[in-house]
Symmetry: C2
Amino acid sequence: MSAPVPPTVSTTHRLGLDPIATPDRLLLGPGPSNAHPTVLQALARTPIGHLDPLYVELMGEVQELLRYTWQTDNRLTIPMSGTGSAAMEATLANTIEPGDKVLVAVKGYFGHRLVDMAGRYRAEVVTIERPWGEAFSLQEIEEALITHRPTILAIVHAETSTGVLQPMEGIGELCRLHDCLLLLDTVTSLGAVPLFLDDWKVDLAYSCSQKGLSCPPGLGPFTMGPRAEAKMMARQDKVPNWYLDVTLLNQYWGSDRVYHHTAPVNMNFGMREALRLLAEEGLENAWARHRRNAEALWSGLESLGLELHVPEELRLPTLTTVRIPEGVDGKAFSLHLLDRHGIEVGGGLGALAGKVWRIGLMGYNSTPENVERLLNLFATELPAFRPSAPVAAAVG
Amino acid sequence: MSAPVPPTVSTTHRLGLDPIATPDRLLLGPGPSNAHPTVLQALARTPIGHLDPLYVELMGEVQELLRYTWQTDNRLTIPMSGTGSAAMEATLANTIEPGDKVLVAVKGYFGHRLVDMAGRYRAEVVTIERPWGEAFSLQEIEEALITHRPTILAIVHAETSTGVLQPMEGIGELCRLHDCLLLLDTVTSLGAVPLFLDDWKVDLAYSCSQKGLSCPPGLGPFTMGPRAEAKMMARQDKVPNWYLDVTLLNQYWGSDRVYHHTAPVNMNFGMREALRLLAEEGLENAWARHRRNAEALWSGLESLGLELHVPEELRLPTLTTVRIPEGVDGKAFSLHLLDRHGIEVGGGLGALAGKVWRIGLMGYNSTPENVERLLNLFATELPAFRPSAPVAAAVG
């Protein structure tokens, strides 16, 4: 073979950069939340091979601790090698066959995402809707199950876009009664809010790494119970998504350890430490801590005259939606918090865009100190953003 | 609403673990390879928000440096939030419409993976094949393009399963002539082996983070040229994969910055540093370093009497397949290297299972010191694994 003359290297895109110098933010938005320092240290460990016996052992630990955190015995419990949205898609991709009817209970942004995804897998998608800030009653769900007779009911436990916690009592029983799989989004509840997957008869669930688990984003915990597994195993065609195919992933994460893809080993180092720390604290303690700090935030905000968007009985301890007062430029205030104080607070999404701030107290960040720091800033610096009273804070 | 009695927390899966204590391995297998220490430090930085102005700036840097590394001007150049396999799937998912004919040139394991994936997107998949250890000639490719008239030709530049580097001269011109998109797997070549995407008229390519880029696994660089983009934009239906949908990802990575999914920010910190270090070294220097160290490995192995599986003109500088000598238990020797010396060397996959070791010298690991260390171990410790000569090393 004659040696061809290679082209010359172009330097058009060769940026000359300084070493990375991102600041230490306090992330009190809808996520990512700050990671535990121990978790960050784990990320920086030397990688090991994805088929190394020591890595295989670590995989087993991650699976087992995810089962504890979700309160499930599901064998098929693994972290997907992508973010929470990948795990969301995995629940649908593996179980939907073309023409299956999927009922999505939509009460915020992430319900709409489930609708979009399910449609791509050629499900017949039907929806029931509640306004952004409300939850579904058991009766509404039962009526929809009877009307639509779906194969899968998908619902969001903790709606990150609205701050609503969907009450779960009785939904799983209804799904069994009407021969339907129950798919639950636990992105903003896992590790932070009481969650009993098996007691609630949930067949499919997913979450993320960067909220209640105190790990950076990049992994999507996924779990599938026996009823969903039976549906997947009975499908006529291959799962129409290779990367998220649980029939293949099960050969890697199960006892066979057949190579599927090169696992994100460092992210899993972090996940292992995050779950270890949570098990050390104990789920009940972590749940109680989130509740306690959220309540302190709520009463502090209300005593500053601010209105919370969600009624107390449906309020999510991890994510609080605060109505932006009349005349205040909400975005300007959150940019001020970010630029001057290094604190991130979220804005509204979809129907709530421009109407609320979203304040997250999740995992490592759910502390009395963070609540106090934020309340102080709302008390002292928000008044300058109010149209009428540029100096004194309005107290309700 | 009456407060229901919550179930009690089960401790069945509550493992009590010690802090993580993985060892510092030297990873000289097919990947992951060791990450640069500076990259590992970047992973441990405090996360920032995925919509933070500083993160948006970092995204632009990563995109630009990926363009440099691939030698492409493609606007749609981004790291997918998954491993290399996710980026592989993204190239197919976005461009295949049901019934499209996809020609896969199969000469190893990863060619077969492309076949499997393309089928899931309902392509009509046709293949041409070469034995594991060989490459395709331009004539074979042209004949197949004429016979099959495919919409997409998919081929692997650097076959990690065999150690073969596919010569690329002329293939892109043929694809243009026959109105076909050229899709190239650069998983084991990006950053380490000469690669000129635009000169070669490649329309779609993907790679991984954990080889030539010296970053841990978890991100999948992806790029799409204007011809592939035109095909994607003309499709009748939505991309049948939400997570990897480039029409949506483009709104986040492009100038709109519309939220799609929460980016794995810490992995992107690492990617930014990995690409910065590569640009600092300069592509030509990195390519020359890989070539130099591979040649030292090859001559060292041959002088120990070992046979290399791939003829020199097709040999991949990043991954060398070494034939396991007659009578030697290849797996026992690699386990010995791992357990006693903390060095990982890969085994064969598929048609080469049990027949070869796979030795990687990639990115940060491509150094004369690593070559010398490994050659010393082959010289001094392999003889004990040979059936006939338990002490003295056979010198060729």
